[in-house]
């Protein structure tokens, strides 16, 4: 399982293909096993809330659900799948409501609560069908390569020369390390989240790396595509409904994640809880699901599993363009109160055509997608070596069990474990920044934004983003000057190990990488993110420029607006 040295640097890392390894997840295909998982989730959820008044909890859940289903009625349904789900939810809600009325005592309420937990657990639980998996891993590459070569025709490749997906999808970083650890313990892969196509690419990268399939928490909007929905629910994906906000549902979701991690099923979740609106590297992670890694690890130690260790592996994905960028940045600006208009889209479905269009653009324009596997961590955020041993500072090795010891024993201490989780969240975000691969397109956007910013230093963000067309132009000479300065900054950061540079940036010739970046940046959008006209650089869409430029915030490079400067917690 080694990387071919000949292709190590260029054009892409290619992996030796191995038959898919059967992982623990295959057991999810068995009904009794799945039922035992659901039972465990119900048991955990009931014991989580053992101290609470079951009646109050039911009332809270019904209340939250009522608000949610009402909202759904008001226009969130964008596909037949969502409609069907909503119908089921409403029926269930009505049933619970009427059973509430006939509850007499504590026991009745508790039984009903168990019924509701069961409903949630069953809804969340994923399935796994090996035949479906085998089909998918044959089908997807075939589709990709068909699309790739069809798209490449546009560029008149010489006869007989075809391209493979791997040359466009660059999976780099600690691949071998991850492959080794997957055999020694349980992997929790935590990717950054820019776009809905992330799920596809993560799944495909896992296959490329010859790793066994992973369980994956998928947002409802991904299920709205009938094809994706059909396959995903059979490939170990479990359902995450972000609109459900009752503590009972959130508890059940966390318990599902804990249960499968504890059973040694490799998992993936996006710790930011959704696509990052601003386009930046995530600096605030949701700790709920991350905490399940800690909990599962504690239990595996306590139960003396033979391969008890859990490894948290950050993964950073970068694309020269993101097809939802316009709606994401709009959301972000509206939410942060810096923009006047309210966006009109909600949890949008994945338009299948958009997905195809994305890949078509990638393939037809020689663009590259970068997936970087970060250095693996233990659940406390320490690096681990190839043998899965945790490394401490000053050449020490650590037995992570020791961090779970309080008063001489391995035990759960909720306050302590919450702090550990928040430290892990901070650490993962720190690693995201360090594993980020800067694309030429990011740097072009950053340079133009920075040059413009220097012309209008006093404007606040909103005023700045509404500069008129004429005000948005920068003479070429001035732009290149800024671009060189930005490059030096990024290069210095790369030399310090604070980020990585993509191949076009290795040469350092400003003309070359600027040309490359301008060509790739935001190709998907109708508006030109960076435009060169009469030698001057300008943008047709300030918000998009802001979005792509944001990928390089959080490094203290300056040119930040108030409130954006402390993302790395320098002050804390």
């Amino acid at each position: 399982m080694k990387i071919d040295p000949r292709t190590g640097s260029n054009p892409a890392v290619r992996f030796e293909h191995h038959p898919a390894v059967r992982g623990e997840i295959y057991r999810l295909g068995g009904k009794p096993y799945r039922e035992s998982v659901i039972e465990e989730v119900i048991g955990r959820t009931m014991s989580d809330f053992a101290g609470a008044d079951p009646r109050m909890l039911l009332e809270e859940t019904i209340y939250q659900e009522r608000i949610r289903t009402r909202k759904v009625r008001a226009g969130w349904i964008t596909s037949p799948y969502l409609a069907q789900r909503n119908h089921r939810d409403r029926k269930f809600l009505a049933e619970v409501g009427s059973r509430m009325k006939s509850c007499i005592g504590l026991e009745d309420h508790r039984a009903l609560l168990e019924r509701v937990s069961d409903h949630f657990a069953t809804e969340i639980c994923g399935n796994f069908e090996p035949a479906m998996y085998d089909f998918a891993i044959r089908m997807v590459p075939w589709m990709f390569s068909w699309l790739l070569n069809a798209a490449s025709v546009q560029r008149f490749l010489p006869f007989g020369m075809s391209e493979s997906l791997q040359s466009r999808l660059r999976v780099v970083g600690e691949v071998e390390h991850l492959q080794k650890l997957a055999k020694k313990g349980t992997i929790l892969l935590v990717p950054t989240h820019l776009s809905n196509i992330d799920s596809l690419l993560v799944g495909y990268s896992i296959h490329l790396m010859s790793l066994p399939p992973f369980a994956y928490g998928a947002g409802l909007n991904l299920f709205s595509n009938p094809l994706l929905s059909f396959s995903m629910s059979r490939l170990g994906a479990y359902t995450v409904d972000r609109q459900k906000s009752s503590s009972l549902y959130k508890g059940a979701l966390k318990n599902y994640s804990t249960s499968i991690l504890k059973r040694g099923i490799h998992s993936i979740f996006f710790p930011a809880g959704g696509r990052v609106r601003s386009g930046a590297i995530e600096s605030h992670l949701k700790l709920g699901l991350l905490g399940t890694a800690l909990q599962a690890q504690l239990e595996r130690y306590r139960e003396n599993h033979p391969n008890p260790n859990l490894y948290v592996v950050p993964m950073v994905m970068n694309y020269p363009f993101v097809f939802e960028a316009a709606s994401l940045i709009e959301d972000y600006l509206a939410a942060s109160g810096k923009h006047r208009f309210t966006p009109n889209d909600g949890g949008e479905a994945v338009p299948f055509l958009n997905t195809m269009k994305f890949f078509w653009k990638i393939f037809s324009t020689r663009s590259e997608m970068w997936v970087r596997i970060g250095k693996p961590l233990d659940v406390f955020g320490n690096f681990v070596d190839e043998n899965g041993i945790s490394l401490g500072p000053n050449d020490t090795t650590i037995d992570p069990r020791r961090f779970f010891m309080t008063k001489g024993e391995i035990r759960a201490v909720p306050q302590r474990d919450r702090e550990y989780t928040s430290m892990l969240g901070q650490r993962v975000s720190e690693r995201y920044h360090a594993e980020n691969v800067v694309l030429s397109s990011h740097l072009v956007a950053y340079s133009l934004f920075s040059a413009l910013r220097k012309q209008y230093p006093a404007l606040d963000l909103f005023r700045f983003l509404t500069l008129s067309r004429a005000q948005r132009a920068i003479p070429g000479e001035r732009f290149y000057e800024e671009a060189e300065a930005c490059f030096r900054m990024v290069k210095a950061a790369a030399d310090q190990g604070r980020l990585f540079l993509s191949t076009p940036l290795h040469c350092g010739d400003v003309k070359i990488w600027v040309e490359d970046g301008v060509r790739q940046l935001g190709l998907f959008h109708d508006a030109k993110v960076v435009k060169i006209e009469d030698g001057a650089f300008s943008t047709e869409d300030m918000s998009l420029l802001y979005y792509y430029r944001n990928r390089l915030t959080g490094y203290g490079f300056g040119c930040d607006f108030a409130g954006e400067t402390d993302e790395q917690g320098f002050l804390v």
């Binding site: 000053n394 001489g408 201490v413 302590r416």
Partner: protein, 340 residues
Amino acid sequence: MSRDFWSDSRVVILGGGSFGTVLANLAAKNCSEVTLQVRAEDQARAMNSTRMNPNYVKDLVLDPKIRAVSSYEKAFEREADLVIFALPSHAAREQAKIVAPFLRGSELVIHATKGLEEHSLKRISQVLAEELPVIRIGAISGPNLAGEIARGEPAATVVASRFDDVLEAGRRIFSTPSFRVYTTHDLIGVEWGGTLKNIFAIASGMLESKGLGWNAKSLLLSRGLAEMVRFGVAMGADPRTFLGLSGMGDLIATCSSSQSRNFRVGYHLAKGETLSDVLSELGQVAEGVRTARIIHEFARSRNVEMPITEVVYRIIDGAWSVDEGLQHLMTRPAVEDEWS
């Protein structure tokens, strides 16, 4: 108190200075074994035979449970449950690097250092977290003049950590009928309180030297506290922490005690002596001298208003006399009496 995990625990204290020795004696009342790590072998031997620390707090009789050692191998011969760093701030990182291989991760660590790592502006708990294979780290800080605690006079302290584990250990190990332990999660506020007060101790010495009265001193303490709060909040601390023992409490003790090194630096500077003369006469480090410069520069770059700190820095720097500094402060534009 009934027997529990901590009554049978082992405590290792690194640093045989006055505060380390006093903490060792407090801990010995509550655990089964205290190992006090000192620098020199003959000091350790003398302590074990005479049951006194020959260099510091000489009137303190060491508890029989205390064993003094001079090597890390001996100090960590058996696994420790709680490790106390009672070392000056400039030694923190270097000592932590040496200690790191002896720790296993289940130990809790509390440091008693009031100061910061200068070049990086890092708090001591941050330095320790970077160097030790330990996560659960805390600090102990407050108006704790070692001599008074040694004599058994009533006193109190604050133990701060993000982890309840550490707070409980601090409470169980250091509480005695004459020593109270308060706890807080605001580690940032407690550490900055202990660091910043040294600047105002220098100012306090200057006022004393000028023969000024209580109005002036109270003015210094109140407005000094306001600067501490402003700076602390900018660093992520909870402003309320500064009203407690580690903020206001420590500020009063340090600014009122003529024994404080920082106070003496201010006192002699105001008499017209040069800084280098004062420091060589003192023969010891006065943390406030360097702290004033670093904090002033950082505060200015971050737009945190700290006029007293600026004046202390300018006087230490030789740019202004004490009278010029006082005049500068008293003629500033009138502002509201608030903290931020």
